[in-house]
Symmetry: C2
Subunit: 121 residues, 2 copies
DNA sequence: GACTTATGTATCGACATCCGATATATTGGT
DNA sequence: ACCAATATATCGGATGTCGATACATAAGTC
């Protein structure tokens, strides 16, 4: 299994990943970390120092809503996508595709990757 | 033609793109801007305020070398990849592929994109 | 000649993101 | 009693991005 992906490359798209994982199902922070790690074959680690401010930003922007669950021994804050968040996710996913296609085209031109059919956009 | 890609999503991979474009041929800053824009169907714009510090960082790190050309009316600083820069580019391109595959997998799972065959890695 | 646009490099300050370190508290296992 | 895992949160430092600004020359236009 490959190492964890360098953060340098990840900057700016953490929002997209978090929105994606939350789109699967509502989660609380700690669970979100595990889910993202699992979904990426342990390649993407989201540190607490990155995640919590990020979640607060998303909530501030109205993209997720949260509620505390104190019913169990554990004090957990569950986050779920709002309608606005879902729209944002779709838009960001499209942008990502564009972006990825751009870079892939660049890398393909210098023959660093095997050409792949453009997905869309 | 789609709009310019939001910078938010681009953070952290400008280095990769610049190294890629320089791998095609040596360029001076202003030419690099045009080349990157052309190579991305005008979707990626590299502002001067981003580019020059970036080029200086790459040179500082020994990934590119530069020399002034004063032979024409225009004063130009040409940049070209060093051997170290080329190695770095190959490595970063591999990381990029890993990263892109991770995100694509995430987006595929929530059915926001049409699944594509994994390129590699 | 005067004016504007394009070319060309560069720095500055404001702002955002990322992350390690740290704090706090509970649960479960040994 | 101790330690690891669970769980949320903030702080400060490092870094990246970009609009604004500065400066200078060349080319085109009125």
């Amino acid at each position: 299994m490959a190492d964890q992906i360098e953060s340098e490359l990840l900057r700016g798209s953490m929002d997209l990943m978090v929105l994606s994982v939350l789109a699967q199902s509502p989660k609380y922070g700690y669970l979100l970390q595990k889910a993202l790690s699992d979904n990426s074959q342990q390649q993407i680690k989201l540190s607490a120092g990155t995640m919590y401010p990020l979640l607060h930003r998303l909530e501030e922007a109205g993209l997720v809503s949260s509620r505390w669950d104190e019913s169990t021994g554990r004090r957990r804050k569950w986050y779920e996508l709002t309608a606005k968040g879902r729209k944002k996710l779709v838009k960001q996913a499209e942008l990502w595709q564009q972006y990825a296609n751009c870079i892939n085209r660049l890398l393909t031109e210098i023959k660093l990757v095997i050409p792949t059919p453009a997905t869309q956009g």
